[in-house]
Subunit: 520 residues, 2 copies
């Protein structure tokens, strides 16, 4: 109790708000900076001092790559990572380009080895085992050059990554550095920087292998410094106050995080779970309706939020392992729980639907494919009379949904009129709309590749500003059927096949259930 009280006091002093989209920048600022060396780059002498800074960081980077003495090396690594945080955005970009280009691999050496290798005579490869055994000796040269090639194909900058990884705070630094690389790549696709990113990503995947991660059941007894991270990084349903947080960690709720020993006290990713009698249809039931049911009556574990804390780990699917581990843990702890499901947002639905409804250019929206059925259209035109006009149902729908005030929600008739087409089109969006063989919706793609199926779509499940804007308030339950997780993942991975319940399929025309793309 005492411990909790203290945690409370500390938390009260912190801002109970999620970080802005500039999370990344804020992270960087939080990194310890030595004896106030931060230069204020907006001051008069900024450009000279920024230049000196850059040179200094560039030099410490070089030392960190080329030095051999560990003690001085530690200093160089510390200098480099601290100096990096002081750099302006543009200087960081130049530094990373320098790293990518000047600490690349030695191509002449690689070519030399390749020529040697191609000069070797290849023992006929697909021989029976006996033959291969006899030829053992002739392989030695292959093994030797292959080994040398593996080494010389590694860019010089690998040394920096490796050294940072074993340097205190280095793994976190690398993750922040990668977040920067990704943001620079989003501005401009530069081949050398792309190669740097892809190499760093592979390294991070190795270092963050599930074998190195610890599953932690986050509770109200955890240090405030850790709970503060949960508040800051909760990306799906922002935590509004202390009571909200306490509830999410209390009876009938679970929160699990993956921690890496090199980044203590800060989960890389965490998932929030509600223990329920039935699969919740609205986020209201999970977040605000009380009281929670006694845990012994729960039959369903509902994953209602999963958030990763490190933008620099983008593309590294830690969530997949986390969900699998959590299912294992919950099954073992609570044998009465038989259903594992999510209550997930559909972040791309409205964007897709609006673009389907109309192509917008300077002259305004143009409406093409008719997405509405005749009875849907007439019901909509009736209900919308007092709000907006348009030459047809599509235009009316576009006007209603693209309005940021979401007035339609509070109308008497409109929700009723919109429900049928919006649910039907949502099923289509989730089940059929793809990009390169993967579900178009990012959250959908995440759960489907992890082996879930689409279980149910729920009308007016999230009435928050964000929920209305993303998906007209609709949410979806993905279901993890324990015995089919691997099979589903495999079918999705190899054939792009999405599994969905009969209920979801029933929104679609019979023929739509078999086709990949549909035209109305």
């Amino acid at each position: 109790m005492n411990k909790n009280k203290k945690a409370l006091t500390i938390l009260m002093r912190t801002r109970m708000r999620p970080l802005s989209p500039a999370t990344n920048k804020i992270n960087q600022m939080q990194f310890p900076s030595m004896d106030g060396k931060n230069k204020v780059s907006s001051s008069q002498g900024a450009s000279t001092s920024a230049h000196t800074d850059f040179k200094r960081v560039r030099e410490s980077m070089h030392s960190a790559i080329s030095m051999n003495k560990t003690e001085i090396l530690d200093a160089a690594l510390a200098d480099f990572s601290e100096g990096y945080f002081d750099l302006s955005c543009e200087n960081r970009r130049v530094l990373l380009l320098t790293l990518a280009r000047e600490y690349d691999l030695h191509r002449t050496q690689v070519r030399e080895l390749m020529k040697q290798y191609l000069g070797l005579e290849l023992p006929s490869g697909d021989n029976a085992v006996e033959n291969v055994y006899e030829e053992e000796g002739s392989f030695s040269a292959f093994y030797r050059i292959e080994r040398n090639l593996r080494h010389s194909l590694k860019p010089v900058y690998e040394v920096l990554f490796e050294r940072l990884n074993t340097h205190p705070g280095g793994l976190r630094f690398l993750s922040i550095m990668r977040a920067d690389i990704l943001s620079f790549l989003a501005e401009e696709n530069i081949a050398s920087l792309r190669a740097l990113d892809s190499f760093l990503k592979e390294k991070l995947i190795t270092w963050l292998s599930p074998a190195n991660l610890q599953l932690h059941n986050i509770t109200w007894d955890d240090p405030a410094s850790l709970l503060e991270k949960i508040v800051a990084y909760e990306a799906v349903h922002p935590i509004s106050n202390l009571l909200d947080l306490k509830r999410r960690l209390g009876v009938g709720r679970r929160c699990f995080g993956y921690l890496h020993p090199a980044i203590p006290g800060e989960p890389l990713i965490f998932i929030e779970v509600a223990l329920m009698k039935h699969i919740a249809q609205t986020i209201q039931e999970v977040l605000w309706d009380d009281p929670p049911i006694p845990e012994c009556e729960a039959t369903c574990a509902l994953f209602y939020s999963i958030s990763s804390t490190q933008p620099g780990l983008s593309g590294i699917n830690l969530g997949k392992f986390l969900i699998k581990r959590v299912i294992d843990v919950v099954r073992k702890d609570m044998p009465t729980i038989l259903t594992f499901a999510t209550l997930s947002p559909i972040p791309g639905y409205m964007q897709w639907l609006l673009s389907k409804l109309a192509t917008v250019d300077r002259s305004g929206p143009t409406f093409s494919e008719n997405l509405l059925k005749p009875d849907e259209e007439s019901a909509l035109l009736d209900a919308a009379e007092e709000f907006t006009s348009g030459k047809n149902g599509m235009e009316v729908m576009w006007n209603l949904l693209s309005s940021t005030s979401h007035e339609w929600v509070n109308s008497e008739k409109l929700p009723l009129a919109l429900r049928t087409p919006l649910m039907r089109l949502c099923a289509r969006y989730l089940f059929q709309e793809k990009k390169r063989g993967k579900a178009l919706d990012s959250v959908g793609n995440f759960h489907l590749q992890n082996g879930a199926m689409i279980g149910r779509i729920n009308w007016m499940a999230d009435r928050s500003e964000k929920g209305l804007q993303q998906s007209a308030g609709i949410m979806v339950n993905y279901i993890y059927v324990v015995d089919h997780i691997e099979e589903n993942a495999q079918l999705y991975f190899s054939k792009g096949q999405i599994q969905a319940s009969d209920e979801v399929r029933s929104y679609l025309e019979p023929q739509e259930n078999c086709r990949e793309e549909t035209k109305d």
Copy 2:
């Protein structure tokens, strides 16, 4: 107290003896085996059943490499690792050879990529940065093929290693598998197996990076299952009974181990430390003289034993990081401790000395180089009269030292007569005798590469059977001078330079201090 009592009871039931040299085999047997599937290979139908076993394990190995569905994959990995333990030594050898040869890389694919690569025109490499920037686009093809080559240069068996690493118990299994590979390589140097080993070793180095290891202060409060490992693996000074163990974990003593999260409850390596007023000269003072001094009076941390528990991690220097970490921890905890030293065995001294004294063949020993000074020789001949005869001091010395009964130790005069030449030659052995630029003595090489210096050699420091046989009872203090660790390691690494105290140097002729090799 209660906890300790329980630990005691459990420990009492276990055998309080270090494992035999067959440690490796015993480990393997301890690995959980499923529902008694172990086949008794000495029975009548042994060879058929062994053949079936082999086929089964071979198949599970193939599945473990080629399967994609995680759930079945886990089963395949479990089948494979359990099946492996059931195999006879010879079948393991064949299986590992199969893995090395049939799951090697795809050489035709590698060659194809190389030809493509060599066909690319290399932009002039050492250009100024500006030029390189302009040529950015032309590098894309290089990056792409380099990336593909990095992947295709990885043997197919990497998949098995990676998958085992993330499989529960897999890392430990890989370490045991490597121990097997090493023992097969010791029998016969096979190129493909050597390549397998070298690849696996690099993987293990990555996975066992210090960033993934946890330093644990092992105390009497630790679980008996962990303490049992300390007893079993203590390789330097066997733990003789419970009191001995308790003392090594009690006041004035420390024991630190490195643990990996995937191998819980079993340190990969551990070090035993005694807190003392002065650097101990004999192991007696550390192990048996009591009582220990109050910790606040200690000024010296003496590392008197370092043992690694996994033969499969041979060649992976975890000790270096462990010693550095322990020095850091002790310095922080106990600022009065200013000296960090070892009391180390000299495992190769007698073997070297005997081979120097005489070349032994069928006709008996032949004595060549005279290692004794005239006064040493006459003193020795005097003292040895009643024990042994020989045509000169060298022969007498050889006879005395090669006797497994070590009678000379109990004589009145002999220890006195032998002390001068044995100490002098020991200093020479440690300071000057090298192999490929590294200290000939393995323990010496270990501490010198970690940055220690030779501080002092101690007469009659270890009178145990093992101590007399290895080094005529002499032990050495290596000193870690905190400010010079990196410098020493660097000098040793780059130039083979060994640092030694004036005291050690004083045993040698003035000119011997500068020369690398000496002749008398």
